[in-house]
Amino acid sequence: MKAKTKKSFYSCIDSLFMGINAEQHDVINTMANRENGKVIFYGAEDYFVAANQPFILTKLMRTKNIDGVIFFTLNQFCYGESFNLELLINILKLKISIHFARETLSIQNLNDLKNKHIDLLAYYQATFKNTKK
């Protein structure tokens, strides 16, 4: 019987999370296991630009042979002026999957993103738009 190939993931922790990084890595590793894979690259946005995440897309474009990227939380796409749908679309265009460890939510492709758009938007509206002024 052919053994299942383990997937390789890029991990991107939340620089604005108020806790130790080890906690984030634990949750991300759990997500990687759940998706039958392991984390092989690690990254994070600079604290001062984390709201817009300028680093991750180019980093993923340069990193070959990965199946997906695991973010600690969907919050990383909510810290800016609006929900960062553009970055999600651009990452999925690289033909890799996106995962959110804390929310145990996976997005496999653009069509999947379209189907989950309401859930993501609702999370942004309910958690960030209405309460954080």
Binding site: N90, L110, L113, H117, I118, A122, Y123, A126
Partner: protein
């Protein structure tokens, strides 16, 4: 419906759905606790007699297993929604989230671990609605108690001044009302009101379910909305809005 108190009891709109839910939970209870009797009212009300002596550890293990089975095997979301559809839609609108897991609470007579006095918000969103669904007739100490919204606010004002929890608890219990709810009725309450239960001093077991609904776009509580809830109902208007927004963003990304 009058919701200014922060709660009301309403007869369910579709008893067949509630009967189906109750029967399925009953069958899982029988399976988990090895009960042979098939008299549903008798087993649920006299549950403590059928279970007999059991350690707290074993009982909790079985209860947790039962919750897992309910959540895995029963289409409780659809059944509960169908039971109270018009009321839920009137309170929250057509775009709904539902709690991922349904809780079951079993309070045997003289159980020393009733639900302590508490209020769900701000951990939970104050825009959520809790549905408390008894599977047996609940009255006096077999029921739960609630403090109306106005009194809840006054009590918290007092707590803020005195920081005396024991006094707060005493005053809250004094202000509370035991809410009789029969099987076939549902208690709706806001996460903003104080509630809890006393030690069940009646001769029957209380078995109840509870679940929360929330409008998709209303402000969340401190709990992560995506962890706690899932999308249940989406209006055509929101589907169109999302579709257009997604298409525009996709085109922008191609430029």
């Amino acid at each position: 419906m009058d919701f200014h108190n922060g709660y009301f009891v309403k007869e369910c709109e579709n008893i067949e759905s509630l009967n189906s839910l109750r029967l399925q939970v009953f069958n899982l209870i029988r399976e988990e606790f090895n009960i042979e009797c098939d008299d549903i009212d008798k087993v649920l009300n006299q549950f403590h007699e059928f279970v007999g002596e059991i350690s707290d550890i074993d009982f909790n293990k079985k209860r947790m297993h039962l919750i897992k089975k309910i959540n895995e095997n029963i289409n409780f979301k659809e059944l509960i929604f169908t039971s109270c559809k018009d009321t839920i839609l009137a309170l929250l609108g057509p775009d709904l989230l539902i709690q991922k897991n349904c809780n079951i609470v079993i309070q045997r007579p003289n159980d020393n671990n009733p639900s302590e006095l508490h209020r769900d918000a701000p951990g939970n969103s104050p825009y959520e609605i809790v549905l408390w669904i008894p599977l047996v007739d609940c009255f006096k100490t077999k029921a739960m108690y609630l403090v109306d919204y106005k009194s809840t606010l006054e009590l918290y004002d007092g707590l803020e001044k005195s920081l005396d929890w024991a006094q707060f608890e005493r005053k809250s219990i004094k202000k509370s009302s035991s809410i009789s709810v029969d099987f076939g009725e549902v208690l709706f309450f806001s996460t903003a009101v104080l509630h809890g239960s006393h030690i069940n001093k009646e001769t029957e077991t209380r078995i109840s379910l509870n679940i929360r609904f929330k409008n998709i776009f209303s402000p969340s509580g401190l709990k992560n909305q995506l962890q706690f809830f899932e999308k249940f109902l989406v209006s055509d208007l929101v589907k169109i809005g999302s579709d257009l927004e997604f298409r525009i963003q996709k085109i922008n990304c191609s430029k």
